[in-house]
Every structure is written in structure tokens, then in C-alpha cells.
């Protein structure tokens, strides 16, 4: 069974805190630093000691490393993963290690979770710092962070357990989009749909397909990949047909294919546990205070499909004086522009339209007009695209290459492709552990060359034959990374290299071939 589990609650599980180093500098005011803490029912003294240690080490490491403060504390029993989300706003995740419980982590994968929480938060609410400036008491920020992060974490909580990406997820990459390879015919259809959309509302759009099977992004008109990644993550979590129909969370990164034993968090339970947490919010955190009107975009079961095919939610409330739900809005990371978020779904195809607020003068009415235009001009095309894509889609195992377990990452484009999770689970634990370690090594090399600024695209090739005779291979070149596990016994180094080259030639356009 997949992810490592750890008890949540008390010091034995996962802890996650967000704090602002600029706050609470006076003695006795330390609590003011805390913007978020999970589990919230921990005594303040414990919360403060986690934050105190983090703050202490941030200050300490800056003595030697002013350009990059503390990123990680490895202790015997816990790992503390640091992420400076915004200047002086830190997120720290503390996870317990346990060999027996398979709680063996790859630090960068955990940091990606922190990054995703923050960028999704930014997408819906803008920067934390701005929110703090708007309400210096911190109440507004806390009122937003608590439900948001708890809703996010509810996908990782199974009962009282926390499931985080562990060594078994070493052939997955957070923060990337998995692209669907589209056949020529389908591509033509997509192009023609895109043309229609572009000529119409002037909206930016994203086209997703197969949200259920960890999705593939077919087309996007963004220049900023970060926004695509955020929307992609959100779409999988809350907009996929599965999320809509079953009401269950579908944390696609972490879902283990269609393993039936994998129990998805029931929405009811998640809600209960979340509200449980809220009863223990610190006294100085007014998140229960009704004076803050907090939208919870990550809440489960709040989206449904309307009659016209557009997805609707009441998360953003209703427009004053009417019963029509307000259209959600998001911030684009790069331009800081505010957009209406409209999602249209036809079977497995999900179309996301982003309409600049500035381009629509009369609010919801204007949005309806845009939607109507799309329906009138594009619904036929959408139908066709869906048809072509479904036909061309090879199913869950479309990207399986027999004999190989792999992960291919294009860092420049933030896209990845990997062996189907169900296939990865066939690997021996030892092979997965070795791959996870190898990835950590490569992570370190990458972060070093980042600080060196020298050759960002470090060329590196590592082939290791593990004790169980599996080969674990990593190669990085020109911003691309390819990881591979080959478990066939009695292979020589030359055989393994050869298999690697063949894969590279056939599936990566020879990007990793040396000759």
C-alpha cells in the first residue's frame, strides 16, 4: 500500500506551520508570529517551540549563508522542511521518520507540497504579505489560512493519519503538468477549437482532458507556466469529473491508480476533522469570527455541473440581490491580473476559461454573456475534440513502456511524464528506496548548481546497481531529467545503459543520448 502514514496530532505526526518573522518581535508577543499551525490543538508552548527553533536556525544559518537560510533540519526522528514562501513568511513542515511505517521522505517532494499550498493560496487570495498589510492584526490572514490549508490537508488525512509523498512516490513529480500526446487528427481539432475561442470572448483558456487519470493538459494559452500548474492542480483536486460525481477528493498526484484498497477521504469525515481543528484555534486567531467573510475554494463538494455544462459553485456566494452564484475569481501569478474562472465540462474534457475582470464591465451578466458565446460558437468543436481525444487516449497505461519504470521531467517547461502508478507499485521496495535516495542526490546537485549559477544545466549520469540487482538510473541534461528503474536481473551496466539509450531515442527524441 502506498503512502507512508504517520499519526497526526501531538508530536508524533506531521506538523505544519506558517509564520511571519516580522511579527511578534517583542517579548511576550511571540504568538503573533503564528499565522497557521497544524495540528491546532497543540499547546502554544509546543507551537512556539517549533517556531522558535525554526526562527533560531534561520537566523543562525544566515551567519554563514546570507543568501539562503535554513532549508532543512534533519534530526534522528524528524525532518523539518523549510520553505520561505514570501520574504520573511516561512512555512515549515515537520514529519516524523519511521522505517517501519515506511515514513521515509524525499525532502524536495515535501517542499513541493508546501510550495503548492502557497501558490494555490496566492491564486485565490493574492500574497500573504499584502493580506497582512491590509489587516495588521493578522486576523484576516489567519481567518483565510486556517480553512484553506486545512481543506488542502484534508486530502492528505485519512482518519487521524497523514499521507504525504514518500519514497514510493519517487517516480512522480510535483509541480509539473503531465502532457497528453495528441494524435494529428485530434491536434487539428484542438487547433480549430482554440481559434474559435480566441476569436470569441478574448478569454485566456486552458484545455484539460482526462482529469481522472492524472490528467493531461492538451493546450494552454498561458505564457506563465506557474499559473497553468496551479490551475492544473486545482482542477484535479476539485473540478475533475470524479471529484464532482463522487464528491470525493481526487488527489491525483497521490492516488495510486485504481488500487481498490486505497480509501479516499470521505468528504464528511474530512469536514468533521477540519471543523474539529477549528474548535482549537488559538484565542488570538479570529477565524471563527464572522466578521471575516472567508471563501473556501478547496472545500469539497462545492462544485457541480450546471445544465449548460459549465461548472458552478456557491463558494464565492451569490451576487447581491440575486440567486445566481458569483463566478469565482483568481489572481494570475505573473501579471497579478484578476480573472474570472469559468470551467466547462463535457464528458472527460474540461475547458477552463479565464476572463479578465477588467474586460467585463457588468459583472455576472457579462460573464454569462461570455459563457453563452462559447456555447454558441464552440460547443460543437468541443464535442469533436472530446471525441477525438477519447478515441486516441490509450487508457490508464497509455504511457507504460514495458520493462521500464521511469519519470521524465522537463524543468524548462514544467512538464513531466511517468510510468503509470499501478506499474510503479510492482517495483521492489529496495529499488524504490534506492531511486528515492538517488533522486535526493540529484536534488542536491541541482540545488548546488543553482547556487553556483554556473552551468545551470548540469550534465550528470548516474547508474547504480542496487543490492537486489535492479538498476536505478538518473540522467540530467539541458534542463531535462530522466529517472529509470530496471529490475530485470542479470543485466550488465552496458545492458542497462543500452536500454536507457533506447528509451531516450524512442521516447525523448534522443535528448539523453550521449552520442
Amino acid at each position: 500500500m502506498g503512502m507512508a502514514t504517520a499519526n497526526s496530532g501531538g508530536s508524533e505526526g506531521m506538523e505544519l506551520c506558517i509564520f511571519d518573522l516580522r511579527r511578534g518581535q517583542q517579548e511576550g508577543q511571540e504568538l503573533d508570529k503564528i499565522l497557521f499551525f497544524f495540528p491546532a490543538d497543540l499547546p502554544f508552548s509546543t507551537q512556539l517551540s517549533v517556531i522558535g527553533l525554526s526562527e533560531g536556525l534561520i537566523t543562525f544559518t544566515r551567519i554563514f549563508s546570507p543568501e539562503a537560510a535554513c532549508e532543512l533540519i534533519e534530526a534522528e526522528r524528524h525532518s523539518h522542511v523549510f520553505y520561505e514562501a514570501e520574504p520573511d513568511i516561512w512555512m515549515v513542515m515537520v514529519v516524523e521518520k519511521s522505517k517501519e511505517a515506511e515514513a521515509i521522505w524525499r525532502i524536495d517532494a515535501l517542499r513541493e507540497v508546501l510550495k503548492e499550498i502557497h501558490s494555490l493560496f496566492m491564486m485565490f487570495y493574492g500574497p500573504v504579505r499584502e493580506m497582512l498589510e491590509k489587516d495588521p492584526s493578522g486576523g484576516l490572514t489567519r481567518a483565510h489560512l486556517y480553512p484553506f490549508v486545512m481543506d488542502y490537508l484534508s486530502d492528505f488525512l485519512v482518519g487521524k493519519k497523514t499521507q504525504l509523498p514518500s519514497f514510493r512516490d519517487c517516480l512522480k513529480e510535483f509541480g509539473t503538468v503531465q502532457m497528453l500526446t495528441v494524435g494529428r487528427e485530434a491536434a487539428i481539432e484542438v487547433q480549430s477549437l482554440v481559434r474559435v475561442l480566441e476569436s470569441g470572448a478574448g478569454a485566456t483558456h486552458l484545455l484539460f482532458t482526462n482529469l481522472v487519470s492524472r490528467l493531461a493538459c492538451v493546450h494552454d494559452a498561458f505564457t506563465c507556466m506557474d499559473d497553468t500548474i496551479n490551475l492544473f492542480a486545482y482542477a484535479i483536486q476539485r473540478l475533475s469529473p470524479r471529484a464532482l460525481s463522487s464528491g470525493a477528493s481526487s488527489w491525483s498526484y497521490l492516488r495510486r491508480g485504481s488500487t481498490p484498497s486505497h480509501v479516499v477521504v470521505g468528504p464528511t469525515f474530512a469536514t468533521v476533522s477540519v471543523s474539529d481543528q477549528f474548535h482549537h484555534l488559538p484565542g488570538n486567531s479570529p477565524s471563527q469570527d464572522n466578521s471575516y467573510h472567508v471563501k473556501r475554494p478547496l472545500q469539497h463538494n462545492r462544485w457541480s455541473k450546471g445544465k449548460d455544462g459549465f461548472l458552478v459553485t456557491d463558494i464565492w456566494g451569490t451576487e447581491t440581490g440575486s440567486l445566481i452564484p458569483s463566478t469565482p475569481t483568481i489572481w494570475l501569478q505573473q501579471t497579478g491580473e484578476r480573472m474570472y474562472l469559468c470551467a466547462y465540462q463535457y464528458k472527460s474534457l474540461t475547458l477552463i476559461l479565464l476572463v479578465p475582470l477588467s474586460s467585463i464591465l457588468n459583472g455576472e451578466q457579462g460573464v454569462s454573456l461570455v459563457k453563452q458565446q462559447v456555447l454558441e460558437n464552440a460547443s460543437l468543436k468541443i464535442l469533436k475534440v472530446e471525441e477525438k481525444l477519447s478515441k486516441g487516449w490509450g487508457g490508464e497505461n497509455a504511457y507504460h513502456v514495458s520493462g521500464y519504470r521511469y519519470l521524465l521531467i522537463d524543468d524548462d517547461r514544467n512538464v513531466s511524464r511517468a510510468s503509470p502508478p499501478a506499474k510503479v507499485t510492482t517495483l521492489a521496495k529496495e529499488s524504490l528506496l534506492a531511486m528515492s535516495k538517488l533522486r535526493e542526490e540529484v536534488d542536491l546537485e541541482k540545488s548546488r548548481s543553482k547556487w553556483d549559477n554556473a552551468d545551470r544545466d548540469k550534465d550528470l549520469e548516474i547508474c547504480i546497481r542496487v543490492k537486489n540487482n535492479a538498476w536505478v538510473i538518473a540522467r540530467t541534461t539541458r534542463g531535462k531529467e530522466l529517472y529509470m528503474v530496471l529490475e530485470r536481473a542479470n543485466e550488465t551496466l552496458l545492458y542497462a545503459s543500452d536500454a536507457f539509450e533506447k528509451f531516450s531515442d524512442r521516447y525523448c527524441g534522443g535528448a539523453f543520448s550521449l552520442d
Partner: protein, 592 residues
Amino acid sequence: MSSSDSNSSSVDDPNPNPKPLDNQLETLNLEQGSDSIVIQNEDDEEGRQQDQGSSLNGSLNVNSDNHEPDDRIGLVRNVVWRRTNSEMEVDVNGPSSPSSSGYAGERGSSGVSEDDEIQEVAKDSALHGGFDSQAAWLPGKRHVDEDDASISWRKRKKHFFILSHSGKPIYSRYGDEHKLAGFSATLQAIISFVENGGDRVKLVRAGKHQVVFLVKGPIYLVCISCTEEPYESLKGQLELIYGQMILILTKSVNRCFEKNPKFDMTPLLGGTDVVFSSLIHSFSWNPATFLHAYTCLPLAYGTRQAAGAILHDVADSGVLFAILMCKHKVVSLVGAQKASLHPDDMLLLSNFIMSSESFRTSESFSPICLPRYNPMAFLYAYVHYLDVDTYLMLLTTSSDAFYHLKDCRIRIEMVLLKSNVLSEVQRSMLDGEMHVEDLPGDPLSRFGSASHLGEHQEPTDSPGRFREPFAGIGGPAGLWHFIYRSIYLEQYVSSEFSAPINSPQQQKRLYRAYQKIYASMHDNGNGPHKTQFRRDENYVLLCWVTPDFELYAAFDPLADKGLAIKTCNRVCQWVKDVENEIFLLGASPFSW
């Protein structure tokens, strides 16, 4: 370079009854207690505890700039006074003190900065010794004028600290320990903060920096480094530094902390800076520091046998270990029945002897502790240099064996001279280790038959050392260098550096690459991986681990994989062919 005198007994004044360490420590403790230093210490202690007190409120105040101006002035003033005092103590007590802990003391303070690790990678003119070529390295502590407020201090690439569990500084690689009291307290606070949470901090990472912690009872060791060495390597280095300290003091020093947690250990280690700095220097050239194996000087089988025979003779007469070494290489080694010598102990012992100038000048009898053999007790080492690089160590448990060991040495020396062992040793030093250009079996190799190693080669006729310098490309198939470690023998052989690994920087870089691949192969709870091939912009590294041996080989980064593998096989064969000459066989410490 100032050299305070040796604490080890000289010929004229052998100290047949050195006090047990406990007594020594008590003496020092009393001295300290009767000294006004201690008052100042307690003030410091309070200051530190205040810091701790506030840390209990949840915020660990770690701010290197948090000294009040007044405090800092006070600190500096006291430090100056203390320093003078302690040096005075050394002068007065040094030469004849019966309470000596037995090391040859030397407090070097050269201003030469070639070992500055500021921007060392980029600095082409750095003069680091690599593997054997350590000529340019100067021993002793440098930059004593620095402290944690100095920018230069903060930019050093690799710091090592030893401190007590109460936060008192014991040793710092750079800067004056006393000036680093505040910093040391900070390190202590971090360790105890995590400890109070029921955990133990191992590593902190920030950008290119790593802070590695090691707790050994009341002794804390910390390394702060941006050298890109793996955590496991840095931790191993801290273990060795701790071992070096135990070698000087034994683990019974812990009792001092039981009696007085604020015990100040610095006087006990006064003058040993040079031992630690030399050990730290070896972390960048001596593969023994991470391989946990020792290396032998290549010698004809008969020559080594002759040396072994005479050492055997004395070992039967109450000598626990008889070791003949040339620099860091073993010529021969004999242990009494059932006594086994760990390679790490040999490393620490030879470092201790070689780094202390006084051992060179006269025969010495000095208490030492072998941490892996028995960390609680002192042994007594009779040390005598037979020539400039070759020295004999006779270890015994008896504190009054000086004259007996002196007699043994005279016998050994006579036999060694008569059987030409010493001249063979010197010749071997000139010839060096295996040369990759000599790798036999390749028709393309220009030097295929030129090896000075090999059964068909007369040891007296070694063309190796007359090899003309050439703008070479190393051995066949782009082979640049290799290290072969015999697991059973706990010995390794490292080839001579050949072109293009010429400069000390290149040698150090290769050393670090080996270190990294070693850690990568062994970084696993379930035993080592089997094979690793690693190619980056600098090298192709091939590592092969079997139950019998480990091979690490470095090739040109453009080397062909298939040829490299074949070459590795040939290297293994070659090593087996000449193992009589490069390894000490049958006398392995663990093979009894």
C-alpha cells in the same frame, strides 16, 4: 611558528610513572578552580544561560550580533588576559610537568593563508596538498584573530568546533576559542533545544552550507561546511576528530564533566591545535579518512617479511603493537595475540605522531589512547624516528616499559639497517605507488612493461621513478586514477596521480568525488550497492563493490563505458598480481 615544548618525555627524562589521566585531570581541575579564570567563566555561563532561558519561551535567540557592546569589550579583554595566562601556564609547566597528557604540543600561528578555504575551489593558486603531495601545507592553527563577527571567519569553507555540553568552547579550527564563547553557546543551545524536544539534531542545510552535529556524551562536535561533501563524510570526520581527542585524553575525561558540568577542557588540549589541524587537513587528501582502511608502502615481499619478523620478535616480549610506518603508510605491523588494531586508530595515531614536531627530535614515551581498542585506558607509545619519514611505534600497557622498549627499538633498528629495509623504504617512497600508465595487458600502453611493481621486476631496478614527464592522458582507456580497497585486509592502495590530475586542486577535487561516490554506495541501511557508474563534467567514476574488495576508478569524462569496465577488470587483476608487494599479508590486524 612558535613551538612550546613537548610534553612527552625525552630520553634524558623519561617519565616512567605518568599519572593516570584521572589524576591529571583532577590536577588541572584544581588548578583551574584555584584560578580566577573560573570566576569569569561562571559569568559567561550565566550570560549563556540567560540566552537559554529566553529560548525556553519558544524563541531560540540565535543572533551572532547579539552581544551588547559592553559584553563584547569585556569578553575581548578577558580573553586577552586568559590567553596570556594559558600560554604562561604552558611555558611554566610544559617541559617537565608530570601531569602532562603526553602529547607533543605546538601552537603554530602562521599567518600564511594557503589553507584558507575561502573560495578555495575557484582559487587556482591554492596550495593544498593532495593525497601525498602535502608539501605546501603548513600545520597549526591560523587566523586566531578572527571570531564569529569577522566576515572572513564567516566565509571560511569548513569550520570544525568541539564544545562541551555546557556550551564552553574546546576547539575551533579558525578563530580564538575564547572569543567564540558566544557562538559556542549558540551551538549548544541548538543541540539542547532539539534534545529537549526528545530528538537529536543531525544536520541543518542552508543553501550550499551544511551544519553537522555529533553528540558524544558531554562532548559536542559541529562542522559547518560549504564544501559539498556528503553528510555521511562530514559526520565521519567529526567522529575522527572526537577519536583524536580521545587518543589524547581517553574517554575518562567524561568524568570531569560529571563532577563539574562547567569544566573547562581547553587547558587539557592546549598545544594540540596542530594535531587537529593536521587531521582536518588529511580530510582533503587521505583516503583512509573515509575508507576506514590503511595503506602500505609498496615493498618487495621479502623486505616486508624481514621487517615483520623482527617486529614479531619484540611483540612476543610484552609489546602490544609494533608498527613501522613511513609517513602515513605502513611498512609492517605486528600485534600481540588477539590484539587487533583498527585502521581508524592507526590513522589517528600516525597523525598524532607526525603532526607533533617533538617526536621527530628525540625518542619519546607518551601515553596515548586507541579509541577503537579501548577508549577508557591509556596505552604507552614508545616512538622513535629511524629516518626523516620512517618511524617506529611500540605500544604497551605498561607505564614503566620505556627502557625495555628502547632496547627493543635498538634491536629492531639494527636488523632493519642490516637487512636494507630502511633503504628499500626510501627507494619505495621515491618510486611511489602504482602508476596507471603501467597497467599491464594493454598492447597500446607505452609503459606496459615499465612497472616498478610486479614479480618479474627487480625491486632494485625501478624505472618507474625515472619516468620522464609527459603530457599524458593517464592510463589506457582514459584511466586517470584508482583506489582499491581490500575488505578482508582492511587495506587500500591508491594509484599515483597522473596527468591530467596534476595540481593539488584537481587532486582534492578527485578526492572529494571519491568521497561522494563512497557515501552514495554506502548510504543505505541494507548494505552497499553493487556497482555505480557516474559521469559528470569532470570525470567518469566507476565503483565496484564485492564481498572481497571495492574498486574506485576515475576516467576521462569522455571515456567509453565498455572500455572503462574492461580496464577496471584489468586493474583488479593487476592488484591481485602484485598484492604481495602492495599489501601487508598475513599480518592483518583482524586476521588473527
